[in-house]
């Protein structure tokens, strides 16, 4: 099965700086999603980008997608302490019943230093 991989595995930055995380995947996709996970909690959906889109914005989040390189990046601008979390990319994948499941990457652990 395809596996997304985030890079870096861990990132520490000062509050107010920008944070960039990257995701690579292996096969063709219809869309790519980013999720956040606070410590000890479930994942929360952040943003979706479709395969025919190259860039998308939502508040302080900016996502890019390069299907030729099979990669995506998530940029968080003007980071805050509350952004401390793990971030995962997820891609749709084929199943026996159409594309009804997602494959998640291994995550980037982001720490914002006050």
């Amino acid at each position: 099965s395809q596996q997304g991989e985030e890079d870096p595995q861990a990132l520490s930055i000062q509050e107010g700086e920008n944070a960039t995380m990257n995701c690579s995947y292996k096969t063709s996709i219809n869309n790519l999603q980013w999720y956040r996970q606070n410590s000890g909690r479930g994942l929360v959906h952040l943003i979706l980008i479709r395969s025919n889109e190259r860039e998308k914005h939502s508040g302080r989040l900016r996502v890019t997608l390069d299907t030729s390189k099979k990669s995506s990046s998530l940029l968080i601008t003007a980071s805050r302490a509350a952004d401390t979390a793990s971030y995962f990319c997820a891609t749709d994948a084929e199943s026996n019943f159409g594309n009804e499941k997602l494959t998640f990457g291994t995550g980037t652990r982001l720490t914002i230093i006050p």
Binding site: S1, Q33, F88, D92, N99, E100, F104
Partner: protein, 115 residues
């Protein structure tokens, strides 16, 4: 807002026990999923269900089974728990159409320890 509720946040069981993890969602979602999350391995799909009584194996189904008798409830069963099943288990639900970008909604997880 969608709420996905997992019955236990922490659970400790013994090797060889039959273990039930329960998940309930309140948004009438067709799809439900069970993942396990281990450090360095991310989320791995165990099983998912796209309708009542329907199920499909994920990437790591060995040692697990599932039950979906009602649309809102999806149970994960460890038939005979082993220490290598110690993990964080996450349940999620979604509307149909992952290829259309439907997001998954997660519960807060059950941290299961098998002694």
């Amino acid at each position: 807002d969608v709420k996905v509720t997992q019955s236990s946040r922490y659970l400790v069981k013994r090797t060889g026990e039959k273990v039930f993890l329960e998940c309930v969602q309140d948004m009438d979602h067709e799809n439900m999923f069970w993942y396990r999350q281990d450090p360095g391995l991310g989320l791995r799909l165990i099983y998912f269900s796209y309708d009542v009584k329907m199920k499909e194996k994920g990437d790591i189904p060995e040692g697990y089974s599932v039950s979906r008798e009602k649309k809102e409830r999806f149970s994960l069963i460890l038939e005979s728990a082993s220490t290598n099943q110690t993990s964080m288990y996450l349940c999620a639900s979604s509307l149909p159409g992952q290829s259309l970008g439907q997001p998954q909604h997660f519960g807060d997880g059950t941290r299961l320890s098998i002694l």
